[in-house]
């Protein structure tokens, strides 16, 4: 059945649903008060979905879910400039994830959460440096990356548990 029209529709509906879930998490998180008053620090709950899709399905579908969520999330968030930061962070994180998917075992998926979050923070702060035209913002790099390790642990461990627990759910099988 692989490649048939029915299969394509099934995948598309499933990925659309997962994108919606990621968006809901993204919007929910935008309404939480920021934990620290530093631009760029957040939980990144939507990345649980990205990790899930990447490790359960494939790279192509994870990229689609990630970049649709970033685009729609910035539109809903009302801050178009945040699209630049999300996209640069998201791109760098995704490139690293492509590599990590090849080397990590199922019991090590949490590691992908940590390194992807750090890559995201790195991409986003360099974009902020470009946008601001001044290097001051780089002073926040250590703080941002430390927060990335912590939030990445949370999202990574969550994704790893979900991948294990939701193994039997039929609509989430490839």
């Amino acid at each position: 059945m692989a490649g048939s029209k029915k299969e394509m529709v099934r995948r598309m509906s499933r990925d659309a649903l997962l994108t919606t879930l990621a968006l809901a998490l993204y919007v929910l998180e935008a309404h939480l008060p920021p934990p620290v008053p530093v631009p760029g620090i957040k939980l990144g709950l939507a990345n649980i979905v990205t990790l899930f899709v990447l490790f359960r399905f494939n790279e192509k579908e994870a990229a689609a879910v990630l970049f649709c969520r970033i685009l729609l999330g910035s539109l809903f968030g009302g801050q178009l400039i945040s699209l630049l930061f999300s996209a640069s962070g998201g791109l760098l994180a995704f490139l690293l994830l492509l590599l990590l998917k090849r080397i990590l075992k199922p019991s090590q998926i949490w590691v992908a959460g940590v390194f992807a979050a750090m890559a995201h923070n790195l991409g986003q702060i360099f974009m902020a440096r470009l946008v601001l035209g001044r290097p001051e913002v780089l002073a926040y790099l250590p703080l941002l990356m430390i927060s990335g390790i912590i939030t990445g642990l949370v999202t990574g461990i969550t994704a790893q548990i979900l991948l294990k627990r939701l193994r039997g759910v039929k609509i989430l099988q490839d």
């Binding site: 920021p34 530093v38 902020a128 946008v131 601001l132 001044r134 002073a139 926040y140 250590p142 430390i146």
Partner: protein, 115 residues
């Protein structure tokens, strides 16, 4: 053999805390000159030790967005802004805090400059 990723992560964490310490030490260096940068250009330099009375100044306009900055003897902060996240307000006073005050939506930076 399983790679021990947690060791790599702990080492990275230690390096980052080292970096954080260096940044904090750099911030703590005695300077009384605040610089306000907007969109990559220097908007104003204020010697905070020369400020006798508190005053506010407005950077930007209604169209591009504005930040109201409060200058007091020896310290400076963003009092009000019409940016969406208001993180610049919450970053509090300079000198002090985690680093320079940054308002990303308005491309505003307040930093402690050289004497």
């Amino acid at each position: 053999m399983k790679t021990k990723y947690w060791i790599i992560i702990i080492v990275l964490l230690a390096l980052l805390f080292g970096g954080l310490y260096l940044v904090q030490r750099h911030n703590a260096r005695a300077s009384q000159v605040a610089e306000i940068w907007v969109d990559g250009t220097l908007f104003k330099r204020i010697d905070l030790s020369q400020v006798k009375e508190a005053y506010t100044l407005v950077v930007g306009d209604l169209e591009k967005g504005s930040n109201t900055i409060l200058v007091e003897p020896g310290r400076i902060r963003v009092l009000e802004a019409d940016c969406p996240d208001l993180l610049c307000e919450k970053q509090g006073w300079l000198p002090g805090g985690a680093g320079p005050i940054v308002c990303l939506p308005h491309k505003l930076i307040i930093r402690m400059g050289e004497e």
